[in-house]
């Protein structure tokens, strides 16, 4: 058993748009260690979300391999991918994607619903809701919550199945600075407390700086792989795969 939670080998994703081929990801090689908090940055169309969706089993690669906890998910059936998403991965989306008819705790229950909700899980959901600071609003529906609060619910939902990995697509994109910082802090806290591996997509450099490591994409390729020395969790920052660059810089980078 390795220390790698995510391993990507020569990952390529090509979309066919009529007669045109659009490259979403090109020959990406990447390893993310257990408990690592990593961000993916890049301009629009650089392939950030494509890589995140491939890592989460929401999309299939054109070629290459993706290993989640040593399991090659690129070979899994549809049902197998569903199981990986249920048991190994939690998603957090930019637009929260809560179900408007359900209250806070019911939204947190959503991933559990098909298998039934045990008393233990009910208690855990309450603990999570307390942890994200919404203990007093457990029966509120999303329309009675602010954007920041809704994202907290989404984070609690992502954690309910005790996943090994949280994949977040622009989790602060729809939030103001204050709420954005709070959500990032919450994710960092949960990263520390739950030991979960976090991969977030962002175009905000400040958000990226809050993570242990940032990979920069351009045209579907990794441009840079940087260890953020000033991230708020230096103690948990993994060793960089390769450390290059100026010693005086607060970033250690691998440039491809």
């Amino acid at each position: 058993m390795t220390n790698e939670m995510i391993k990507v080998d020569n990952l390529t994703k090509i979309y066919n748009m009529g007669d045109t081929e659009v490259i979403g990801a090109k020959d990406i090689n990447l390893q993310v260690k257990k408990g690592e908090f990593m961000s993916i940055m890049g301009p629009s169309g650089s392939g950030k979300s494509t890589v995140l969706h491939l890592l989460g089993g929401l999309d299939r690669p054109t070629s290459g391999k993706i290993y989640i906890d040593d399991v090659d998910i690129s070979e899994l059936s549809y049902s197998g991918l569903c199981n990986v998403r249920r048991d190994k991965i939690g998603f957090v989306f930019q637009s929260f994607n809560l179900i408007p008819t359900l209250n806070v705790i019911e939204n947190v229950f959503v991933p559990l619903a098909p298998k039934g909700i045990s008393d233990e899980k009910r208690e855990y959901a309450k603990e999570l809701i307390d942890l994200v600071g919404l203990g007093g609003r457990i029966h509120h529906t999303p329309n009675k919550l602010s954007g920041g609060e809704q994202q907290r619910v989404a984070i609690a939902r992502a954690f309910i199945n005790n996943p090994d990995i949280i994949l977040a697509d622009e989790p602060t994109g729809n939030l103001d600075t204050k709420n954005g910082k709070e959500v990032m802090q919450l994710m960092r806290d949960m990263n520390i407390e739950e030991g979960v591996t976090l991969v977030i997509v962002t175009h905000d450099q400040n958000v990226g700086n809050e993570t242990d490591r940032t990979i920069h994409l351009r045209d579907g390729e990794i441009l840079k792989d940087i260890i953020n020395k000033n991230s708020s969790n230096q103690s948990r920052s993994p060793e960089p795969p390769v450390t290059l660059g100026d010693d005086t810089s607060d970033e250690s980078a691998v440039t491809y």
Partner: protein
């Protein structure tokens, strides 16, 4: 999963109510149709029982072939001799039919319960049937099926045997006197109406509501009432060897060109055909009714799936399998259908009870089969209406669902 389905059903209450109302209308019609179908079947069975007796000869073009108004038929007695000579005819019985009203008793003929009151009043009455007891005994028709008391004897006056149906309706039994009014001109005026009374000496039971209300008297007394001559009768009932029935009837028709010879086999076939057609029509109407609910459900569920595209994508992203999504949509569809079915059963029963109250005596059936049929249609509508939307939801690609939603 149920809490998600439940909350979604309540998301757009008016739409849910409309879809459920569609099912309600459909199921209500199913209830009414099944009830009508059952009462119609019962009526047909009853009619068949009535017709399954002897073969009849009546005056031509006068309700022959087992027609209804035998009281208007006049035959010459010579018909009996001719009929007896035909090969296959085992026995014959001559009868005189007189349509009368029974005092203080309203007898609505079977099948006319839903007709307007004045029409019912006009049609209200029974047959006073003059018979030859010896002949009736040989022919073994219902009139000889005496369940209590005795059969009338030949030539007796002032006595009668009544049907078990009339016994119940008139609350008169053996030893009581029954009074009838005969309007000879059939013009409904009191002036021409005459009253006759008879002592009840026996009760017969034909096991058919259509023939169980009649009054049997002697042939001579009937002739004295309606003024027929000694050579006249209303009709002749025949008992024919079953294997020779077709041949015998053919010969009778040649022998008696001025008479109608009822072919019970044909009549039975006609009744069966009619009954089958009615059954098919009721079934088609039930299917049509169910289709109303089906379209309502499928429309609602498709709209619900389309507007929740993104949510379904989220469910899939959080690990829901296709079958889980299918279950969710099916639960919603079936719950709406159950609500509609419950409403439909309620309204259907209410409607039938209302009809029963408006038209007393209407043959309305309320039994377990009715509720089983309605529930079956409800489930078919709920499951059938949910299949396509559920399949559509489960076929979504979570990523495309996010983009479209």
């Amino acid at each position: 999963m149920y809490f998600i389905a439940y909350k979604n059903i309540l998301r757009r209450k008016s739409r849910t109510i409309l879809a459920a109302l569609g099912v309600t209308m459909g199921i209500m019609l199913v209830i009414v149709m099944v009830s009508f179908s059952q009462s119609s079947d019962a009526m047909m069975d009853d009619f068949k029982k009535t017709m399954s007796g002897s073969i009849e000869i009546t005056q031509k073009s006068n309700g022959g072939g087992g027609g209804f108004d035998r009281s208007a038929s006049v035959l010459d007695k010579s018909v009996i001799d001719k009929a007896e000579r035909v090969n296959g005819v085992k026995s014959v019985a001559s009868r005189i039919y007189i349509f009368v009203k029974v005092e203080d008793v309203e007898i609505i003929p079977a099948g006319m319960e839903a007709m307007p009151a004045d029409f019912q009043e006009m049609m209200s009455g029974v047959y006073l049937i003059g018979v030859d007891p010896k002949m009736e005994k040989e022919i073994k028709d219902y009139m000889s099926s005496i369940v209590s008391g005795t059969m009338i004897r030949k030539g007796t006056h002032g006595v009668c045997v009544i049907g078990a149906g009339l016994e119940e309706k008139s609350e008169k039994g053996i030893g009581d006197r029954i009074v009838v009014t005969y309007d000879k001109d059939q013009d409904g005026t009191i002036e021409s109406a005459e009253k006759y009374d008879f002592d009840i000496i026996g009760i017969y039971d034909s096991d058919s509501t259509m023939t169980n209300n009649n009054i049997i008297i002697s042939l001579d007394e009937a002739r004295a009432i309606n003024g027929m001559t000694s050579s006249q009768i209303s009709m002749v009932a025949l008992d024919i060897v079953p294997e020779k029935e077709d041949d015998a009837i053919r010969k009778l028709r040649v022998l008696l060109p001025d008479a109608d010879v009822g072919i019970n086999k044909q009549m039975m076939k006609t009744i069966d055909d009619f009954s089958d057609k009615m059954g098919l029509m009721f079934l088609m109407m039930m299917v049509f009714s169910a289709a109303i609910g089906f379209i309502g459900i499928i429309n609602t569920m498709i709209m619900s799936v389309v507007e929740r595209t993104k949510e379904i994508g989220v469910l899939m992203a959080t690990g829901w399998q296709k079958i889980d999504v299918i279950k969710l949509i099916m639960i919603e569809s079936v719950v709406i259908s159950i609500l509609g079915t419950a409403g439909g059963i309620g309204l259907g029963v209410l409607g039938l009870s209302g009809m029963s109250a408006l038209f007393p005596g209407t043959a309305i059936v309320l039994n377990a089969q009715l509720f089983i049929s309605a529930s079956f249609f409800g489930i078919v509508v709920g499951v059938g209406g949910g299949i396509y939307p559920a399949w559509r939801a489960a076929s979504m690609n979570p990523l495309e669902a996010f983009r479209e939603g």
